[in-house]
Symmetry: C2
Subunit: 136 residues, 2 copies
């Protein structure tokens, strides 16, 4: 019954939560404003209990929060968690682009002068880069 509130684990649950198309539709609906479980369940063919479970997954992932209004439990979107996801994706996407950029400049330099600056060269990627250029 470990509750493991690790930040990395949160990211894990968030990605996991968005993996399901039903939950993504719920997120999409919530972006227009809060809604109750019944309202959220309405567009789906599945049972209300199933939707309730989906909401629990989203809540546990930190993507939504819930308040109380009499018997109702309105669900609210928490955009901060979504931001963390885009941050993760963009991180590696941008590193990848950066990698290409430095390769380009490296090639440009080698034409102008001697390529003595092998230096650090963490670019295992560079070595691998060469192996590409294949048929498409």
């Amino acid at each position: 019954m470990i509750v493991d509130p690790s930040a990395d684990d949160r990211l894990d649950r968030a990605f996991m939560a968005l993996a399901d198309p039903v939950r993504r539709r719920i997120i999409a609906r919530l972006s227009r404003g809060p809604a109750t479980v019944n309202e959220l369940a309405d567009p789906f063919e599945i049972s209300k209990q199933a939707v309730s479970k989906h909401i629990q997954v989203l809540e546990h992932a930190g993507l939504v929060t819930r308040t109380r209004d009499a018997q109702r439990r309105p669900v609210h979107l928490d955009p901060a968690a979504l931001e963390a996801l885009t941050a993760w994706i963009d991180r590696y996407r941008l590193i990848h682009e950066q990698q290409f950029r430095s390769l380009d400049s490296l090639l440009a330099e080698s034409t102008t002068a001697e390529a003595s600056s092998e230096a650090s060269d963490p670019a295992v990627g560079e070595a691998g880069r060469r192996t590409e250029e294949e048929r498409s």
Copy 2:
């Protein structure tokens, strides 16, 4: 042998692919440049076959591509697919923010005389929003 038709289905697979922490680590590694299956499998405790399966999932989701170099099959990151993911997330995140913005301006209008509101409690304002229902 259906070959992944709809674009919506692609998004589905992409989110599903990123739900697994092993696959996200693979993506992180690939952001530094292409790598072979053996290279990718090295940091993990799991078998090479398991990593191979993960790569197939990523490939089927359009997140990576593979080329050929002798026996090796280098895996390359495809940043375009990652961009599609951030696009989806940002869409609803921004709609949500927009919603807040209009709520704020609405409140601001009602108190044109003075800008006393310190953003107050938007959650309460939202709760009243459940008037927008689509119970059919």
